[in-house]
């Protein structure tokens, strides 16, 4: 009975999504592929240095693999989440400029810069113009009462260490209001997400994520291997003004633009009437 309920929930969910995706999938995935393939990676690189501006090559805004079945609590956590389909505007938190949160922002389609320091790594995301702190000074991600006292954060609390040439990041304390992906999958406050990063050549970093969330999932959720390509210099130097103005630009989602300007001025104005 329980399995039947879960199956039905997933089925309804997938069927609701189907028409939109068929219409929109073309041309989005791999849209940067041709651009970066020409910029082949050399063999000379420091595997512990991720400095630079990177862009994900394959864009599905998700883990890219089938999720394990949800627990009843996980299914319940998705209540009220509406994803887009023709004639229906979803209610993803970021449509009203709420943070995408981690890891959704990681799977976004705008550039991200790695800044390496002695004690931490910063990720600067163009969308939201967001900074994520990843501590590399030996501290561990908070746990137990420390985590309970800290409480949830949109981007969680992250600590990392090197295992050979692989950087392992652990993130805990995620805010449950942020969706895991565009399909609205959940994650609990007590979840842990492990990232495994590896620089495989001068232009390429690979990432794999694993969500450990026994409250909401019946098994760990392992992502597809994600590939980030280093952006060519001419892609981060606007109008050829190299050195004058370059880098991560201001992709701030301002409610005055998004909610007042876009949602009310365009999105809602042009909607077809529901039949």
């Amino acid at each position: 009975m329980r399995n039947r309920f879960i199956t039905l929930t997933i089925l309804v969910f997938a069927v609701c999504l189907l028409p939109t995706g068929v219409a929109n999938a073309q041309g989005d995935k791999d849209k940067f592929k041709a651009r970066y393939e020409a910029n082949a990676g050399s063999k000379e690189f420091d595997p512990h240095d991720f400095s630079g501006i990177w862009e994900m090559t394959r864009l599905d805004h998700s883990f890219g693999t089938p999720p394990p079945p949800l627990t009843p609590a996980g299914t319940a956590a998705m209540a009220g989440r509406i994803v887009d389909k023709p004639g229906v505007i979803g209610n993803a938190p970021w449509y009203t400029c709420n943070p995408m949160g981690f890891p959704r922002l990681m799977n976004d389609d705008e550039p991200m810069e790695f800044i390496m320091t002695k004690e931490k790594i910063l990720q600067v995301f163009q969308w939201e113009h967001r900074i994520r702190y990843i501590w590399t000074d030996g501290r561990q991600a908070p746990s137990g009462q420390n985590l309970e006292n800290l409480g949830p954060a949109w981007y969680g609390h992250s600590a990392a260490q090197w295992n050979g040439n692989s950087l392992t990041v652990n993130t805990v304390g995620l805010d449950e209001r942020a969706w895991l992906d565009n399909a609205g999958l959940p994650k609990s406050f007590h979840a842990r997400i492990e990232e495994s990063w590896k620089r495989v050549d001068s232009n390429t970093i690979e990432l794999q994520l694993t969500l450990y969330d026994p409250e909401y999932y019946t098994a760990p959720y392992v992502s597809a291997k994600k590939t980030f390509k280093k952006m060519p210099d001419d892609a981060i130097s606007y109008f050829g003004w190299s050195g004058l103005f370059a880098g991560i630009s201001e992709g701030i989602c301002a409610p005055t633009n998004e909610v007042e300007g876009y949602n009310k001025g365009f999105r809602d104005v042009g909607q077809a009437k529901s039949k």
Binding site: G21, V22, N24, D84, K85, I89, C253, N257, R267
Partner: protein, 130 residues
């Protein structure tokens, strides 16, 4: 159960709404194209979407102000466009997918300048509206 989960995942991946930042529902009729000829009346050069407004005369001679959305500032800038690429009063032709309900709002397909050159083309990946 696992097989069902995998099958449904494949379906949902085909289905997953790939717009990154914005819900659109049925805002635009993506199967329809409209060609607008008129003059630029305002350019909102800002995120998350650059919006271009243009004054267009309808069949009766009445001027209607259309607005059409484009990619964000950074995407357009990477393609070499800037806040002054289009100037107020400039005559342009815009090919757009119009609003589903007939209101004078739209999403860009391309902009054609007076000399016939095409710019800000979504078809050519220069204007990746998400």
């Amino acid at each position: 159960m696992k097989r069902i989960s995998i099958l449904l995942f494949v379906l949902s991946m085909l289905a997953a709404p790939l717009y990154a930042h914005h819900g659109r529902g049925a805002t635009y009729d993506m199967k329809k194209r409209v060609t607008l000829k008129g003059t630029v009346s305002r350019v909102d050069w800002r995120n998350p979407h650059v919006v271009i407004f243009m004054d267009v005369k309808d069949e009766t001679g009445k001027v209607v102000t259309w607005g059409f959305e484009n990619a964000g500032v950074s995407q357009l800038a990477q393609e070499g466009y800037n806040r002054n690429t289009l100037k107020i009063g400039q005559e342009i032709t815009a090919v757009v997918n119009p609003a589903a309900n007939g209101s004078p709002t739209a999403i860009v397909v391309k902009v054609i300048l007076g000399d016939g050159s095409e710019i800000m083309s979504r078809e050519r990946g220069q204007n990746p509206v998400d």
